[in-house]
């Protein structure tokens, strides 16, 4: 919420700077940013009482002496004769109506009203709606103005299943459905309560005779409707977070005062429909309890004075919670008040000890299995569980989109997608695994859960000269994990978006059946975490080149390796020996290196790669006694 500093300081006897107020707001838990003369403040959802100048000043009252600069209409107000029926007082326990008729609409606004629109760069609507908006900013209570000339009959407040069209005062047409709180007149919805009024009864620039409604709607009666109909308004924001249930008459008296500041009032009438007084919340005055919760000393006098300054009343041994503080119910709430006032950073930490208990074995087993797979060259993936496939799947009521309407019942699809993703990035040896809970719906409609291990492999066995020419297959998995051949299955590439022909093999095992298969896991070493800065990956394709050297002196094998495997160029990202052959008969050694180049900024051209290759080859040739048959610069 945006609050003008120039407005806020009118509420204090002192004249604090905007920075000082900002720091105090922060101490109280109201994150804020200073933008020129404006404090842009983020309030937690339990502090609806702070969503106004008055409310914010009240909360800052612990630091400053608060004065209420706004004036109210103090005279007698004649009773309003209105045919109103509240059919749902449990949703709206308190509602007031005010009728005002004025001689003429003012041509200019007083500076305090004019400034509100200019400071926040707001568009004006009409005289009465403009005052309504200003009052919501000043006092936190939304009001709604109807043009009386367009109300033809009784008014009812209804909370019921409503299925009919409604056009808002902002010309948006919606169809109401399900339970809604509405105002109806002459068989027409004239207001979606607490959210937005209707077009048919909206005030216009020349409206001089208005009915102003000022209500307390329970937050639970309003919540979700603005979202449902995409009708977010300042009113809905405030009502959802809770307004003061006992300030409606005061707000309307302020309304009259502002009108009278601008023009001559011909008629003013008021009535209130109160079905239930707001409950008076009382909490025992117990500073020792507060001290116990915070863990720091709280003196009686400071406690008493602090609460009084922010609107609490203390009578003997009882604290009476002000009606605007919906969030304060018990001692812990009061302890938070005191902790905020003391300042969280001023509470000294007190050390304590927790008696250790042995940890669960099942979680350890899951981690051991992870490190076992990593030690075998597999990389763990974590996938989102959402899918479009419904195979006895848990159905999401409110999915992000139609492709994510269910929870997956197998890891297969995700792992295949991971495999294809990496194949498209020129990865030749892919070994992935995932451990995840899988959910399904059984015949009785109940959720069933199983933890699964999924493994997928395809391509070369490894990036080294012993494994490079070998292909990952079913036998590889059987031997590596000592599992039964029947537990490995081949996934067909039919229908997959790929031209690669390597066979895909997969293992899907229930976690609770893994014990016998990985029975020596307790000896698995767990690597210590290494928090080194990660190197941002490239979105561009990589290029691969092979360099095959011929040499006769074995000593030069290591020299070549030292140069190539440690070579640094702008784009060389990996190198390994993919081929090695020592023909002792001919005294000829062949050693092949595979180099991969990749740029973070662009797709590399042939020339880009060639220039780096030339640089590497030149360094290698300096060893002497090595050659690359067929290589020409």
């Amino acid at each position: 919420m945006k609050i003008a500093y120039s407005n806020l300081i009118n509420f204090f006897e002192e004249h604090p700077t905007i920075e000082e107020i900002s720091n105090h707001l922060f101490q109280l838990g109201h994150e804020n940013e200073i933008v020129g003369d404006i404090l842009d403040i983020e309030f937690t959802p339990n502090r609806g009482d702070c969503l106004s100048l008055l409310g914010l000043a009240r909360d800052l009252g612990v630091f400053y002496n608060v004065i209420e600069p706004q004036n109210y209409y103090e005279d007698y107000i004649a009773p309003l004769d209105i045919n109103f029926k509240n059919h749902s007082p449990e949703d709206c326990p308190n509602i007031s109506f005010l009728r005002i008729e004025v001689d003429e609409i003012p041509k200019k606004y007083k500076s305090y009203l004019e400034d509100y629109f200019s400071v926040f760069k707001l568009n004006k609507n009409n005289f009465f709606t403009d005052i309504s908006n200003y009052i919501a900013y000043e006092m936190g209570q939304p009001t709604h103005c109807y043009d009386i000339s367009n109300i033809n009959g009784d008014i009812e407040f209804i909370s019921d299943d409503i299925n009919e069209d409604f056009e808002t005062l902002l010309d948006k047409k919606i169809t109401l459905s399900g339970k809604n709180c509405i105002f109806r007149s002459n068989n027409e919805v004239i207001n979606l309560a607490g959210i937005m009024g209707g077009k048919s009864t909206a005030c216009k620039k020349n409206t001089t005779n208005v009915l102003i409604e000022c209500a307390y709607f329970k937050p639970e009666s309003i919540i979700g409707k603005a979202q449902k109909y995409n009708l977010h308004s300042d009113a809905s924001y405030k009502f959802e977070r809770g307004v003061d249930p006992s300030m409606q008459e005061q707000v309307l008296r302020r309304f009259i005062k502002i009108v009278s500041d601008h023009t001559n009032i011909k008629v003013v009438e008021y009535t209130n429909f109160l079905s239930k007084e707001p409950p008076l919340k009382k909490i025992k005055f117990d500073s020792q309890k507060i001290q116990n919760i915070i863990g720091t000393q709280v003196q009686d006098k400071i406690y008493r004075d602090s609460l009084t300054k922010i609107g609490f009343e203390i009578k003997e041994n009882e604290i009476i919670v002000p009606t605007f503080r919906h969030d304060v119910v018990h001692q812990n709430d009061l302890s938070e008040e005191m902790a905020r006032i003391i300042g969280y950073d001023n509470i000294k930490p007190v050390s304590f000890k927790i008696n250790k208990i042995k940890s669960s074995k099942n979680i350890d087993k899951e981690n051991l299995l992870r490190y076992f797979f990593a030690s075998k060259g597999f990389n763990e993936v974590i996938n989102m569980p959402f899918t479009s496939r419904n195979i006895s799947s848990l159905r999401i009521d409110n999915p992000l989109d139609s492709n994510r309407g269910f929870l997956r019942t197998t890891l297969e699809q995700s792992l295949i997608e991971n495999l294809l993703y990496n194949e498209k990035r020129q990865k030749e040896s892919i070994k992935l695994f995932e451990i995840s809970d899988i959910y399904s719906i059984n015949k009785d409609g109940r959720v069933e859960v199983d933890k699964y291990l999924g493994v997928v492999v395809s391509g070369r066995v490894g990036n080294n000269y012993k494994e490079f020419s070998l292909k990952l297959d079913s036998q590889y998995l059987v031997e590596l994990f000592k599992i039964d051949k029947s537990e490995v299955f081949e996934v067909s590439r039919d229908g997959l978006d790929t031209k690669i022909k390597n066979k895909i093999f997969m293992v899907l095992l229930k976690f609770n059946e893994l014990n016998e298969k990985f029975d020596k896991l307790e000896n698995q070493e767990i690597q210590k975490i290494n928090f080194k800065k990660y190197d941002q990956i490239s979105d561009f394709p990589s290029s691969t080149r092979d360099l095959s050297f011929v040499l006769s002196d074995e000593i030069k094998i290591k020299k070549l390796e030292d140069i190539i495997l440690n070579f640094k160029t702008d784009n060389l990202i990996s190198a390994f020996v993919f081929d090695f052959y020592n023909n002792k008969k001919n005294n000829q050694i062949k050693i092949g290196f595979r180099l991969t180049f990749n740029s973070k900024n662009k797709t590399l051209t042939v020339d880009d790669v060639d220039s780096e290759i030339d640089y590497i080859v030149k360094s290698c040739m300096e060893i002497g006694g090595v050659e690359i048959p067929g290589y020409t610069k």
Partner: protein
Amino acid sequence: MSEDTGIYPKLNFEFGTVHPINQTKKYILDILSSIGFNNISGPEIETEEYNFDMLNIKKTHPARQMHDTFYAEDKKYVLRTHTSPVQIRAMLNNKPPMSFASGGKVFRKDDDATHLPMFHQVEGIHIDENVNFAQLKSLIFQIIYEIFNDDIEVRFRPSYFPFTEPSAEVDILSKEGKWLEILGCGIINPVVLENCNIDSKKYSGLAFGLGVERIAMLKYEVVDIRDFYKSNLDFLKQFK
């Protein structure tokens, strides 16, 4: 193919990697375990009762709205929005004093450059007689100093969680001089203790929760949270 010779090239056998999020989750849970927290786990598919009601999250709380929480099977189930239901089950099944930590996947209806519909949390609770906010602060300092450095600047600021009162959010000061939020914590709301049949007049508790992705991003200096879930081998292989 190689033949027997005295000198061979390096075999370059590649080790794989445990996912950096699972490494970080384990790292945090190990720290908590060393302090005395007992690791527990629980279901990812929950009911409104365990995910919200027992935690004092009222029907009007914005987090319960369809735009924030994934519901399933006509609202019969909720994809847990935090790991707190695990703590609820622990409180129902144990008697104080107790100290539990849990880590796992949680779900929120978000999907943009900085939010994912699934992410990971680690939470802890400690319940005993006379547990207070000053002790909570001490514990949080201990955890943060262990994860980062003991010279890192830390600040506490008031916040709001229905299940804790008082509640706090904790920030650390980055190298660039920016405050970064890293965890939420508080004194367990007595309503929650009573919901779990724990006498709130005798016992009090503290609770805290960390986002695993947040910690991993800070520790590894990963900029884009979405990189964790692309399953890109160039990314994953860096976390050895």
